[in-house]
Symmetry: D2
Subunit: 138 residues, 4 copies
Amino acid sequence: MAAKRIEGKFQELVEGIPLNQLLGIRVTKRHEDGVTLTGTMRDDLRNALGTLHGGVTATIADAAIGIAIMSHHQPIRLAATVEMKINYFIPIVEGRFTARAKLLRVGGSLVVGTAEVRDAKKQLAAFATATYKYLRPA
Amino acid sequence: MAAKRIEGKFQELVEGIPLNQLLGIRVTKRHEDGVTLTGTMRDDLRNALGTLHGGVTATIADAAIGIAIMSHHQPIRLAATVEMKINYFIPIVEGRFTARAKLLRVGGSLVVGTAEVRDAKKQLAAFATATYKYLRPA
Amino acid sequence: MAAKRIEGKFQELVEGIPLNQLLGIRVTKRHEDGVTLTGTMRDDLRNALGTLHGGVTATIADAAIGIAIMSHHQPIRLAATVEMKINYFIPIVEGRFTARAKLLRVGGSLVVGTAEVRDAKKQLAAFATATYKYLRPA
Amino acid sequence: MAAKRIEGKFQELVEGIPLNQLLGIRVTKRHEDGVTLTGTMRDDLRNALGTLHGGVTATIADAAIGIAIMSHHQPIRLAATVEMKINYFIPIVEGRFTARAKLLRVGGSLVVGTAEVRDAKKQLAAFATATYKYLRPA
């Protein structure tokens, strides 16, 4: 799958999203069919069990799908999450984690994507599906 | 529905969870059948559209269900999220937002709950269902 | 909760849906905020474990939410399922089972509802959430 | 992807499931990492819009994942659906439709799979994720 380093302008846009900044989420790759976001474990991202809080995993998955949608269109189209479903497989303990998003279906008003979240050892830690709604007709 | 101010000790436990602290999520009520968590809009919790990021909504919903499970048992039982599904209805723009969790089904190894997320005007902003797995047999 | 026996005409419409006929699904109550559908266990609805197949549970839940949407509007508005999520709690073994649907959110283009599926003893057997999309603007 | 015609014995087992028989669902391929089930449009499987009822799509997707789990183990292990999520993309109008299931995560007590449902033209019509629970420890 072809992947290119993300352009400076797009990167800025994504990292300008306040919650991404707070959680340290960045775009690291842009693929033909989606994007990869990356985060890094920090103590303030932990849950009661001491591992990465599922809310952060859900955030990076949702963000990855949203950004895959934005970057699918020229010019960028904004969309809002209608619903998201995520399954958690193994806890993320430390190091870098990534969310690789792909679009499953681009419709006229709705668009659906998936995201695979992997831990520092590339193990599949979570899998999400999200439906977005375009904010304006094309 | 009976509700009592949350006891100091339980409060501490919940607010001791690092991500809750980072996002400013607190327990504000304990009900017969669940709990209510509360957060407050801040600029660093916004998404690309300027409203509350869905990741924060997902986090407070997931946290509320997890804490409803913990507080359902004496002594507290830890559980991990197996999967979560959330539907978003209206954007949260400012002020306080709450997540009211209830348990739908308490099984031997799995437990399922729902959370209603409401904005400062008490409008239903999101609805989540989550499945948790007990970390140890009872 | 006010409930009235379903009118003949509406009943006919619902039972005219081929799959409902095949599976024996009928509307048994119309509530202020939704509908109740009823089915009856038959041997040809069983799964590999000998209990009601989850596909039938999913069908009655989806149908109940769809019919709650149709009956919410005057005249009836058609809508198609965008996505559905269902949690299964206990197996349905025999007798009548019901799906009670409610609408959570009626938006301009999307509408979201829930359904509680109960067995013959009124125990909660499954819980579903579904998003529908209106086929035509109002 | 390697695929072999399904063996007679396994075929029998699957087609012996009563609801599969009622709906005409058969196993048509067994892959290294899952199975493909096939159904055929019939007038009694239609919804109010005249297309394949989403309940049938949900049934074939759920069945495909369940059978992928059964066929993953030697000897076969039974499992029950904990929850399922399905997104619908395009209506299925006629002819054969297939559900191709894969396992995403095989855990000690839970197992998660996905299914792609395609219409007669191989277009992606729906996508499902399901969590199953093993009925007995391995």
